[in-house]
């Protein structure tokens, strides 16, 4: 089926297949359609249906609250029943040369394990190798649960055959409950990606500041992995602030301590505990990690005071953490907006 998107600068045409989300078909054709979460939450991919018929693959998607008119649809959730024309209120361009064009694939879940009582990690063995940029995420659909969910890659490599993800337990969240219910080893899932614009490239030429809350550390791990592979921290500073409620909620500390030990003069990893004071045991377990208590963006503001020159910030985590960090970076740190990278999931 032929889909036409009328953007503010020109029209684009691409083919879609039955059952495939219009957003995904357009992105897979190399057209940079507007989106952020890609999974039904943020409302950024809102479009107006001009002609043709679509089905809503996930009528309960939270992002539907952004739809104001009866002809409005979320491109990430609708599938075509006929050829369609839609209109978006944005300038739309082809993806940059060298961008990782997203693709459709299937994968098998392996290495599922609990990192803390309410955070797990799992890997996907992919049926086709996948290129992605550090900081990107995959849309994953698990069997029997409507709608894709976005999970950031933890690892970084080209032509990856295996991706690692982190998931926070979310009571009432269909996909999260399915993953935490156990017995997922070897199960097949659908994926589409990579997605997301909060990406790190080694030619950046700036110090990097990462502020992550909880499972938001996943994409930051990928950024750190790429930076380590390129020996980025021999030239530029890295400051990573990882916020959790208590020490028992922290994970990836071995990996983070290993990174800090590898680049002791330029890479600083700070764990911020919002709900408890720092114990001596924590400090002696991880001498390479700095500990402090407070909300992660407040801890970052304190430790970074006077060090915000030539900084690119990456922010990820639950909405209050992301909002607090952005407010701090803009108003206190006076970073320019294009040096604050995050993907909006709410």
């Amino acid at each position: 089926m032929q889909i036409q998107i009328n953007a503010r600068n020109r029209a684009y045409q691409f083919e879609t297949q039955s059952g495939r989300r219009l957003l995904y078909s357009g992105l897979a054709a190399g057209i940079h359609l507007p989106y952020e979460c890609g999974t039904g939450t943020c409302g950024t991919c809102k479009a107006k249906l001009i002609s043709g018929e679509v089905d809503d693959a996930w009528p309960q998607a939270a992002g539907r609250k952004y739809l104001k008119h009866s002809a409005d649809v979320l491109m990430c959730q609708c599938v075509a029943k006929s050829g369609c024309t839609l209109e978006v209120g944005n300038f739309v361009y082809a993806m940059d040369p060298g961008a990782c064009i997203p693709v459709f694939g299937r994968g098998t879940i392996v290495n599922a394990r609990l990192l803390t009582p309410d955070v797990m990690s799992f890997c996907l063995d992919l049926d086709v190798p996948c290129d992605f940029d550090a900081g990107q995420f995959m849309a994953v659909e698990v069997p029997g649960i409507a709608g894709f969910r976005g999970y950031s890659m933890v690892n970084f490599e080209r032509a990856a055959r295996r991706l690692e993800f982190v998931v926070k337990k979310k009571p009432g969240g269909g996909a999260s409950e399915w993953l935490f219910a156990g017995d997922i080893e070897g199960r097949a899932v659908e994926w589409f990606g990579p997605l997301g614009a909060a990406t790190f490239y080694p030619n950046l030429g700036k110090n990097i500041l990462c502020i992550a809350g909880g499972s938001g550390i996943a994409g930051i791990m990928s950024i750190l992995s790429r930076a380590r592979q390129e020996r980025y921290f021999e030239q530029y500073n890295g400051n990573v602030f990882f916020g959790v409620r208590t020490y028992a909620d922290a994970f990836f500390l071995d990996e983070l301590a290993g990174l800090a030990a590898q680049f002791p003069s330029r890479l600083t990893i700070t764990l911020a505990l919002s709900d408890e004071a720092v114990s001596d045991a924590a400090r002696s377990n991880y001498p390479a990690i700095v500990f402090d208590s407070g909300l992660v963006h407040e801890v970052a503001a304190r430790h970074m005071a006077g060090k915000f020159q030539n900084v690119r910030a990456y922010v990820a985590g639950p909405p209050p953490c992301v909002d607090g960090a952005i407010r701090m970076l803009l108003l206190q740190a006076k970073l320019s907006a294009d040096n604050i990278r995050y993907d909006k999931f709410s």
């Binding site: 020109r10 952004y66 300038f91 940059d96 952005i326 320019s336 294009d338």
Partner: protein
């Protein structure tokens, strides 16, 4: 539109902002900066996000959703923002704030910051016209004499020989189209422009506008620089990361 009451000035926190609804249901963002007050469209021009929920430090307004930013004194786009804010001049009388609506020409990005006399000269050239839905403003091959600034409504463009490639432009108030009239050696239209809804436009003769700009080269330079970046937006892809 005549002068409309907005709110008592005490309702706007010092170097802060608030959202107000004025008579007629128009919603405005009202901000204070030092001794001055400014009023803008209440919603972000990007998506339907209330700007009063954004961040404001007394000089720069930031929409919290995608960090589009504007200079509070002019409404001009800064940083990532791709569109300026529609501004409503504020009058302070006693302790009350009032707004007066502006012509689309004042909100036109193309003409922001140009000399007052030159703007007045161009304003004198502008004819306000109203068209019903379905009216064609021009067709491919028509002489490109006039350019247009959209005041209200919606205009669609069809480009190419087969008219098969709609560029579905959704113009905002103050946006320019038909700019071939401002170029040399582009005597004919390359697109068909049709009003999709009842639309109000300002029609301005290109040659006469160019004469007015030639008399004031500083303003003319500003306008031409804006026009060239506007044209480039339709051609170029945005910069790489």
């Amino acid at each position: 539109m005549s002068k409309r009451f907005v709110c008592p000035r005490s309702q706007v926190p010092p170097n802060g902002m608030t959202e107000c609804e004025v008579e007629g249901g128009l919603k405005l963002l009202v901000a204070n900066s030092g001794d001055d007050y400014f009023a803008y469209q209440a919603m972000c021009p990007h998506q339907e996000v209330a700007l009063c929920e954004g961040l404001y430090d007394g000089s720069v307004l930031t929409c919290h959703q995608h960090l589009w930013q504007w200079d509070i004194r002019t409404g001009a786009a800064m940083g990532l923002a791709e569109a300026p804010l529609e501004s409503f001049p504020v009058q302070l009388q006693g302790d009350s704030l009032y707004v007066v609506a502006q012509s689309a020409l004042n909100t036109a990005e193309l003409f922001t910051g140009i000399g007052e006399q030159t703007l007045a000269a161009i304003m004198a050239l502008a004819r306000k016209e109203q068209y019903a839905a379905g009216t064609s403003l021009y067709d491919i091959g028509d002489p490109a004499d006039d350019f247009f600034i959209l005041d209200s409504g919606r205009v669609e463009f069809l480009i190419g020989r087969e008219r098969a490639s709609p560029a579905g432009f959704m113009l905002r108030k103050g946006e320019l189209f038909g700019w071939a009239a401002l170029l040399e050696s582009q005597p004919h239209r390359i697109a068909r422009a049709t009003c999709l809804e009842e639309s109000e436009v300002l029609r301005i003769n290109g040659k006469q506008a160019l004469q007015a700009l030639a008399a004031d080269p500083a303003s003319g330079f500003l306008v031409m620089r804006r026009l060239s970046s506007l044209i480039a937006r339709y051609l170029a892809s945005p910069g790489a990361n």
